[in-house]
Amino acid sequence: MANLIDIRRRIRSVKNTQQITKAVKMVAASKLRRSQDRAIATRPYASTLEATLRAVVARVAPREDGAPLHPLLATRVEKNVVLVVVSGDKGLAGGFNTNVNRAAAAFLREAPERGFARVAFVALGKKANDFWRRRPVEILKAQAGLAAIGAASAGEIARALAAQFVSGETDAVYVISNEFKSAISQVVSTKKLLPIALENSANAAGGADYLYEPSPEEILGTLLPRFLEFQMYRAILESQAAFFAAQMTAMDSATKNAGDMIDSLTLTYNRARQARITKELIEIVSGAAALE
């Protein structure tokens, strides 16, 4: 039978852990609310921007030489590839960070098969930074502190990526991040950021035939970079909302597990205590019996 003091000490330590997990869970829940609101706030912008872009692309006459309408739409053989990994800044979120990093590692493994000669990394979020810095990969940019990234700095990252793409230095840009599905479900997804792919459905222009000011070409030239910047911003926001959701779920089950553990330890403790009392009683009774 385990020592009573030892069991008491373990109960106390598990209780402390439970307090921490509970506190982290509460914080994550309130931050989830906020980041979810931020992600939702982008929706009206997203839908209008995409619809407009489709209408404009459908309207712009294709070039006669078959060249793409805009450098950002150019598809080339993908040799030099940039991989943007969006992770969280903190742990205590179950498999959240491991999952993105694992997906990125798988991407890297498959690179030769897919004909990528070079894969350069952009690591966003502290955990991706820590993970990839210790590995022999080329890192173009590393940024921690995702919470502070607003639309402006996300745009800056996107602009840098776009400049490299347009200059021909890179042929494609992929993003691996956690997508926010719901408060209990996050899915790691790999998406192609560049070249920009718009489903060019023939009826996209359907309905209104717009006047353009200035020309559709110029509008396309302004909207495409903005679309790219916005995609980047959105991936970061989604990942953040997903992070807090993952953290909340992980900490909730950790709190529950700690509770179960405390229950079972308390049971063991009480049993041990009763066994000791019984043993002492037997000793007293048998001692008295021996004197008779």
């Binding site: 921007l49 209408a55 006047l211 353009y212 200035p214 509008i219």
Partner: protein
């Protein structure tokens, strides 16, 4: 179509106006101001930095916008700005400071890019001030 416009102003970060009914909208297009009345032909135009004004009956109001574009379809006027500010969130004193700082940068600017950025900052500050202090 009830013969009234419905004005929406959104930025990537938030919605500033959500389907506000009004009778007239003026927009700072890149090539000069444009006025929109109900029944306008569908239009997509790029916006500069300036003030989006709207009139509901005799009541006038405005928000400051920076860049982006406007889509007009039917009676819906959707402004997708890079940044926008409604009067109730503008702190005049803070914006004045931003303006001075941006103007300072504009005067010292070395390259074109720097100049454009500083100039846009200054004009967006101007637009915000114009919105809180009408007239």
């Amino acid at each position: 179509m009830d013969g009234r416009l419905s004005l929406t102003v959104v930025t990537p970060e938030r919605a500033v106006l959500q389907a506000v009914a009004c009778d007239e909208v003026t927009l700072p297009a890149q090539r000069g101001e444009i006025g929109i009345l109900p029944g306008h032909t569908p239009l997509i135009a790029l916006l500069g930095v300036g003030v989006v004004g709207y009139r509901d009956g005799s009541r006038r109001a405005a928000v400051a916008v920076r860049g982006g574009f406007v889509e007009i379809a039917g009676d819906a006027v959707r402004v997708l700005a890079d940044d926008a500010a409604a009067p109730d969130v503008i702190d005049a004193a803070a914006v004045s400071a931003v303006k001075q700082e941006a103007e300072g940068r504009r005067d010292r600017a070395a390259g074109d890019e720097e100049l454009d950025a500083a100039d846009a900052d200054a004009r967006f500050a101007d637009a915000r001030l114009a919105v809180v202090r009408p007239g």
